[in-house]
Subunit: 108 residues, 4 copies
């Protein structure tokens, strides 16, 4: 494992291949959807996907990679935007009303 | 910003609401696809999405959050699986053959 | 081309393979998302997809096939639900306010 | 119900609003993915979606509508491409090997 951050590793990978030109926000958004569906394909006919856990993990890594690339393109830090969004979600789903329920906030 | 890791923040959020029961790998995979499409919706009719950058960032945060939850459920570290997958991708896309081209590796 | 309707052709295909057991509404909904992403993959890095039109058409056929299977499972006619939804959409997008604009109805 | 075909109804709807300019193959492909995810959202936390069947049917109609628009844009007939693809799928999944199994053809 490298001492560089994931962001720096990804930047180096992209720059060495001159791929930044393809990484418009729109293309990265399409890519996230495409990889998300490849992940979902492991559950297409079955709620469990046990026989292919390594492949599953790699599809998840693909989703994360495009999401990190988009974050970098937008100039934001992935973990920071998650924490900021989490604060918002907490107030939309107060514990006393949402405990043990998957109901969407606008129907709670 | 908290001193807790994002993983720990997410775990606390989920536990307080007793939501782990809903977070099967399959449900999280569906959730990633659903949030990815909400992100894509910002580019549905237009390659740029300038008027709604804050919303765009929040949709991206949602994708990342479900991806982190799935990683935790699978017992893997999000950044580590990205770095491991990156090593594989590097060998599939050698710089000399892939530079400046978006061609898929099996057609290079 | 057969004299049977597409619905009947699909039913025969599924029955001969004893596949109805896999075609729950949920599994068909996942399948539609998966095939939709394979279609989108033709536009991942490029707004045009000219070199692969036959493949593109087959991906579109896959989306349509799972959508027809879900309609049959729900007991509705695909073309009739399209026409009924079209009536609703017409009233949400009156011609005088929506002409030449891709703005969503709730922002018109 | 009209005497016009669904294709003609959709064409009239689009032309009255001057929306053909937005209906590039790429934008329609994105739209199919977006609507497919809205359909999937009904099954996000639960394999059944009984309480919202009317909404479910309308999401399915949206998927079908964008798929029909893309077919028209590509100059093909939706039901004919389904039947042609079905012939291919039949030979990839011979009944004797695929009966009662959801295994993908390349692993049969």
């Amino acid at each position: 494992m490298s001492d560089l951050s994931v962001r720096d590793e990804l930047r180096a990978f992209v720059n060495e291949r001159d791929w930044a030109q393809f990484h418009t926000p729109e293309n990265l958004a399409k890519s996230i959807s495409i990889e998300a569906a490849e992940l979902l394909e492991h559950f297409q006919w079955d709620a469990s996907a046990s026989e292919s856990e390594q492949e599953l993990i790699e599809e998840l890594a693909d989703v994360l990679t495009y999401a990190y690339l988009l974050a970098d393109r937008l100039g934001v830090d992935p973990e920071q935007i998650m924490l900021e969004k989490l604060e918002k979600t907490k107030s939309k789903y107060p514990t006393e009303r949402s405990r043990g329920r998957s109901t969407k906030y606008d129907r709670l």
